[in-house]
Symmetry: C2
């Protein structure tokens, strides 16, 4: 029942995704068209412009559109307001993948079907390209968000990006992930004793925070109220957790060709994932719960009349995707 | 003549340095007092709170004081306004050292007389601690700069920090540094052919940009005019280049105990430094020129009556220090 609804779209969802992807990639190419030092920008472009779903950027855009309808903003205005933020999000995401793939971390050779950054440019350049992307993402957000946006709002969005990705957010989640790698048996024992927060803690930090920020920032830049931001954040938390559980499932069920990265690595590394802890069936069950919860947030009367179709489809896409 | 002037202080310079150091370290300890994930914050604290001259933070404070005198700000107000920025600068600086020391980069075992971060916490945590510090530094600057400062000013300071440290600044300089390591002979040949920009290019990026930002941001936060910012930036560029040349000299003349890091590494690695390219005498000559130029900027009539004593002493300290 859930999966079929993807084809019942009142609008053409795959066209919507494609339009968002093109908008974001076009602008990323512009921002990343610098030339000196040559090898650094090549390395940054290699990872940022290597495809990917652009799900986070599109979530930011869709959240903005949902809020903007009420304010009578044109489509063009909405894009102008949030596109720098969308690009910053994709740069930070690319940075996290570059550093994550390094030998000192997950030591991955392939990503999106291509050699990882350090395999092409060497470890030193990959490390510095990640650092550069983090700084450049913030710079773009701070300097390219249009002047019509109150500087206090831009400032709050930039500081929230840093918080969401920092030691209490994404980077903290990566540390938790590392800390529990190889301790799967212990986590299972703790789980039977009633301690079931570890897996959610890791997932929330590692992927959840940036996804939550993506939705939140789009709405915030378009002037969403505190209540709207709170509900949209709940929706985004459901989506973020679902996204990571789907990822964990794909590591078990996917193949190299579709995934573009090496499958089966989580199990081999004795990683704490939703699947290694709760099994495939438990993971699918949780996904259905998260889909229902996420959709219900968007059915809140607060959003009556708002175009939340795209956000609904994006939740289902995050769950039922094949890569 | 130059060196003696350090003792001719109209105010107690060593007490001034000590006060600045204590202010900055006290606040850094507060900002870094978080606990989860434990190992991440321990790793961040290990490098940020491991001593160091705090020269960059004190430059920010001193530039602020030079501008503030005219505006009748109290000492306490000035500190409140710039201290978050001072701490952000020190965090970004610490981050650059952590990543620079990694095996993929300079592969250093000691820094400030202590084991480097990855030697204590492992490469993965050192990498993530650097990323976390970069994000947390920006977050602190954006959220802790007092509300009395126009958000547009705070925003411009934060974006300039990202620019100064990013791919066209500090990180770009590290890439140039790597690119020319081992190519010392070629650089010397190019130099004889009239190509003398490489060494300055590397130095300007690697250390110059963050030092320039330190001075600029302190003045900007206190409302300096565009003309004042331009002259102070010139002073800071002289100081930044002098600081790195002094560093290159110390690599040749210093010892492990005083330096706290392994000396002689530049020559061994065939690195392009001021000393390996222009020799000791050429380096000392350039230092004297930079001292004169830097002091002359502060003698501009624009700063008549402004307390620029500390900035003058800081320039000489950067040149004549022993570690």
């Amino acid at each position: 029942m859930h999966q079929e609804s993807l084809t019942e779209a009142a609008f053409d969802f795959s066209q919507y995704l494609e339009r968002g992807r093109q908008l974001v990639e076009g602008q990323l190419a512009v921002y990343l068209s610098e030339t000196a030092p040559k090898v650094l920008w090549e390395s940054m472009r290699y990872s940022v412009l290597s495809g990917g779903k652009r799900l986070r950027a599109i979530l930011c855009l869709s959240a903005a559109e949902a809020i903007a309808a009420r304010e009578n903003h044109s489509q063009k205005e909405v894009v102008e307001i949030v596109l720098p933020c969308c690009c910053a999000i994709e740069m930070v995401h690319a940075m996290s993948l570059i550093h994550d793939d390094l030998p000192a971390m997950d030591n991955d050779d392939y990503r999106r079907g291509k050699l990882t950054n350090h395999k092409v440019f060497g470890e030193a350049i990959a490390l510095l390209a990640g650092d550069a992307l983090l700084l450049y993402a913030n710079q773009i957000l701070l300097t390219k968000t249009p002047a019509q946006i109150d500087p206090a709002v831009t400032l709050s969005v930039a500081s929230e990006l840093c918080r969401a990705c920092g030691p209490k957010g994404m980077v903290g989640g990566q540390v938790d992930d590392l800390a529990f790698t190889g301790r799967l048996e212990q986590v299972k024992i703790d789980l039977e004793a009633g301690e079931n927060e570890v897996v959610e803690l890791i997932h929330r930090g590692k992927t959840g925070e940036l996804i939550r920020f993506s939705v939140w920032s789009g709405a915030r830049l378009l002037g969403a109220s505190a209540d709207e931001l709170a509900i949209l954040s709940k929706y985004a938390e459901s989506l973020g957790l679902a996204f990571q559980i789907a990822d964990d499932l794909l590591d078990v069920t996917g193949d190299m060709k579709t995934l573009g990265k090496t499958p089966g690595k989580d199990l081999a590394a004795n990683k704490v994932t939703w699947v290694t802890v709760y099994g495939e069936e438990g993971s699918r069950k949780r996904l259905r719960e998260l889909e229902d919860a996420g959709l219900a947030y968007l059915d809140n009367s607060m959003f009556a009349g708002a175009p939340t179709n795209a956000l609904k489809k994006l939740l289902q896409y995050a769950i039922y995707r094949s890569n």
